[in-house]
């Protein structure tokens, strides 16, 4: 195998270096973002049912959603940093062209965030049906809109200078591209599989198995839906779609996840072994698809003029400092788990 032909090694070292960090941090963001997207979608749609959804899955998702959003936003800061170094003008231009349409994701994110705190409140179950539906769907709509906006931003960043100028001249703030919905579908529907993995662990840990079939079915539907959208999307950007090891990795992991979820579906309880295997193939699948996502963009953008800039950026000091604090703070975060476990004095404290 020719290593030099494999992403990111086909690029000069500085560019490959930043691509590596970008993909790595983006994958971390995607994992938590999927929990949020899959979770609010499930909660939103299930709010349509007549009675308040009090199943274990819904309770778990409601309980952890604000935390997951906080982590997803925080995890999103790092790739947002690296994308600016990698693509510079293309990323900034897409942001500027979408203008208000893009900036509105900020208040919508705040609203969506607070709505998930509201969803968590126990008293919501006592509210009237229309209010509960409104709350659930509004929360879902907020995050769906943000996902849609990122898709729009990504696709617009790949356009040519002439198309950017024409778009600017038109004063439009909605970018029309047929690939938008299928591309959005790839990530949106795929989110259910990742959410299934994470919430599966949470329910397994709490020994709650009431919704094992529901979680498995959601993951399976997500996998099929994502694959279908990927197929349509591939047809639309065929010239840019890379057939290579990462695509095969993504497909292989998709197949493995599907198989594992089907086995899980047949069981009455969440299986630690199956979840462990899913936890291996799911992130690997995300890595594969994230790299393919980036390869599509890299095929559309002429990165070569940016090579010297990546080299210059890499020459800037500070990486040792980053790595030091990265390790230190990762260690402290791990220590927090131990601290909580070791110093747990139980519910009797609450009684006090």
């Amino acid at each position: 195998m020719n290593l030099a032909a494999i992403f990111p090694f086909e690029y000069p070292l500085p560019t490959a270096f930043y691509l590596f960090w970008y993909v790595l941090t983006l994958v971390i963001h995607v994992v938590f973002m999927n929990y949020v997207l899959g979770g609010v979608t499930y909660l939103g749609l299930s709010s349509l049912a007549g009675r308040p959804n009090r199943n274990e899955l819904a309770l778990m998702l409601r309980d952890w959603m604000p935390f997951a959003i906080g982590v997803a936003i925080t995890a999103g800061v790092a790739p947002l940093l690296f994308i600016q170094i990698l693509y510079q003008k293309a990323f900034y231009t897409a942001n500027l062209l979408l203008f208000h349409r893009w900036m509105i994701i900020l208040p919508i994110l705040i609203i969506g965030f607070y709505l998930t705190y509201l969803l968590k409140a126990k008293k919501v179950a006592d509210w009237s049906y229309p209010v509960r539906v409104l709350l659930g769907l509004a929360s879902f709509a907020c995050f769906a809109f943000i996902a849609y906006s990122w898709t729009e931003n990504y696709l617009l960043s790949m356009e040519s200078q002439d198309q950017w100028a024409a778009f600017y001249g038109s004063s439009d703030i909605m970018y029309d591209n047929a690939a938008k919905l299928p591309r959005l579908g790839v990530w949106f529907l795929g989110a259910f599989a990742t959410m299934g993995m994470l919430v599966g662990w949470q329910l397994w840990y709490k020994d709650q198995h009431e919704n094992v079939k529901l979680v498995s079915i959601l993951a399976i539907i997500g996998l099929f839906g994502s694959a279908g959208c990927a197929y349509i999307y591939k047809g639309m950007v065929d010239a840019h779609f890379p057939a290579g090891p990462y695509l095969y990795l993504g497909i292989a992991c998709w197949g493995a996840q599907l198989g594992l979820w089907l086995v899980q579906l047949a069981k009455a309880k969440f299986s630690g072994m199956l979840l462990t295997l899913i936890s291996v193939v799911c992130p690997l699948g995300i890595v594969g698809m994230t790299v393919v996502r980036e390869q599509v963009r890299l095929a559309a953008i002429d990165l070569e003029p940016l090579y010297p800039l990546h080299k210059a950026a890499m020459g800037v000091a500070g990486i040792v400092c980053f790595l030091f604090f990265f390790l230190l703070n990762a260690g402290l975060i791990l220590y927090i788990f131990r601290l909580v476990k070791k110093n747990w004095i139980g519910p009797e404290m609450e009684a006090e």
Partner: protein, 478 residues
């Protein structure tokens, strides 16, 4: 000089947006002030909670734990949501206002920003662990989590403060672009770090006073005792003049002159900030600490509003005194570097701008359209046409020759303005654009292409030179 950032080497054109009557500085400033206030509340809140946890553990304050639970919920709901989202929002807004500036900063400081991000992660980890599990943990673990949280929050200030201070005083970095740490630990780094730390403590303790008044089930004496504990944090405000004067002493002489009366707006905002701080400080030191008075919810809220005003004034001044630069001596406010001015004087500033002027049909001729393009590229970051800091208001009484001469010699007219960076034709186009607006936007407008006028424009531009303006009285200090 070899530039570390492409944005400093070549002129990069972006599709610049128009915010209507609001100048762009109001957008970034408004969000920035709000974000800074919330972030400082979160940082000070972390320190304050450590103190109250210690009070609870040592039995010094029986209601400290109750306060902690209430205060922490407020902190999570405000800081973890609004603080986090507006933090990301600052990046997006910076891109909207000046992609070149943020591009340069990212190129230079991305690893330090990434370092700050690791502290965000720790802050979220420790913060949520406390939020979810504090009631099940022993005191030692609670304090440890709060210390982690406070440390992470303060370290985020430690990192971002260096990046912000760098813009005003890049220090030794200006001569050596590879000297990152010289740029980071620049002359204004420590005074601003200490000043902001005190600000964080004051804001958090004021917020705590509001929370204490809203807490159910407490007697007035209990509230008073908790408030007086908060006052211990608040009295650090007495250190502010020291750090403020230190800051004033190390900023560039021209920047100092804006605050000391050189710019009415800057002086006024500085005084608003100082006045509000004195009022808060007086109440905290004399009222709370010395007289041991009670502070009710309304007064605490009012003091919070004053603190917001002080923050707003201070941030306005901090941003304003950088003028005409966004990164001192490296990048002007309008994203043109000092080195690029001479080139753009030759080739024209918008000759290579690929983005058309929007709604061209509303302009009477090509020259006015060109003038609009020049305005968009060079002026629109700080000015509007008719809204805030509008060119119509600033130039409405000028005749055409005044427009020509004043714009050509912009950096001499007002030393906080960058030099005009276009050629004589572009200057004339901009003049015609403004004059057409001042005359009520008639349907037809003559093209001004008299060679003598263009020659005079060129002469004025040459006279002004391409260097920034500099008050003669300050010449010795540079």
């Amino acid at each position: 000089m070899t530039h570390y950032s492409s944005f400093l080497a070549d002129v990069v054109y972006f599709p610049l947006n128009d915010f209507g009557p609001a100048m762009k500085g109001m957008i970034i400033g408004g969000l920035g002030i709000f974000h800074v206030f919330v972030a400082q509340f979160a940082i000070g809140g972390g320190l304050l909670m450590c103190y109250f946890q210690w009070l609870a553990m040592t039995g010094r304050e029986p209601h400290a734990r109750q306060f902690l639970d209430g205060f922490y919920k407020v902190l999570v709901l405000i800081s973890f949501v609004i603080g986090a989202v507006t933090g990301v929002g600052m990046w997006f807004t910076s891109i909207q206002i000046s992609p070149v500036t943020i591009g340069v900063m990212i190129d230079q400081f991305h690893w330090l920003w990434a370092t700050e991000w690791t502290f965000f992660c720790l802050e979220v980890g420790a913060g949520y662990a406390f939020y979810r599990y504090a009631k099940y943990l022993n005191d030692k673990a609670r304090l440890t989590l709060l210390i982690f949280y406070a440390f992470a929050a303060w370290m985020s200030l430690f990192w971002i403060n260096g990046i912000l201070a760098f813009q005003l005083t890049p220090g030794g970095w200006h001569d050596d672009n590879t000297a990152l740490w010289q740029g980071f630990f620049n002359p204004t780094y420590f005074p601003t770090l200490f000043f902001r730390t005190v600000t964080c403590m004051v804001i958090a303790s004021l917020a705590a006073c509001v929370v204490i008044n809203a807490m159910p089930g407490l007697e007035r004496e209990d509230r008073r005792r908790l408030i007086l504990r908060c006052a211990h944090f608040m009295v650090t405000i007495v250190l502010m003049p020291v750090f403020g004067l230190w800051f004033l002493a190390v900023i560039p002489a021209d920047s100092r002159s804006w605050v000391m009366g050189g710019s009415a707006a800057m002086t006024m905002f500085a005084n608003i900030s100082i006045g509000a701080t004195i009022l808060i400080g007086g109440y905290a030191v004399i009222g709370l600490f010395m007289q041991r008075l009670y502070i009710n919810g309304a007064t605490a809220t009012l003091l919070m509003a004053l603190a917001f005003g002080a923050t707003a004034g201070g941030e306005f001044v901090r941003e304003g005194i950088r003028k005409p630069y966004t990164i001192r001596k490296e990048l002007y406010s309008n994203s043109i570097t000092p080195d690029q001015v001479a080139t753009l004087r030759e080739i024209g500033s918008v000759t290579q701008d690929p983005y058309p002027v929007r709604n061209q049909e509303q302009y009477p001729n090509e020259q006015v359209i060109l003038g609009q393009k020049v305005y968009r590229f060079q002026c629109s970051v700080c000015h509007t046409i008719e809204g805030a800091n509008g060119l119509m208001h600033l130039t409405g009484a000028w005749d055409v020759d005044m427009l020509r001469k004043n714009i050509a010699k912009l950096q001499q007219l007002k030393t906080f303005m960058p030099p005009f960076s276009g050629n004589a034709q572009e200057l004339e186009a901009l003049v015609q654009r403004i004059d057409w607006q001042n005359e009520g936007q008639p349907d037809t407008w003559p093209v001004s292409n008299d060679p003598a006028v263009l020659e005079q424009n060129k002469k004025w531009l040459d006279d002004a030179g391409t260097q920034p303006g500099w008050p003669k009285a300050l010449a010795k200090s540079e």
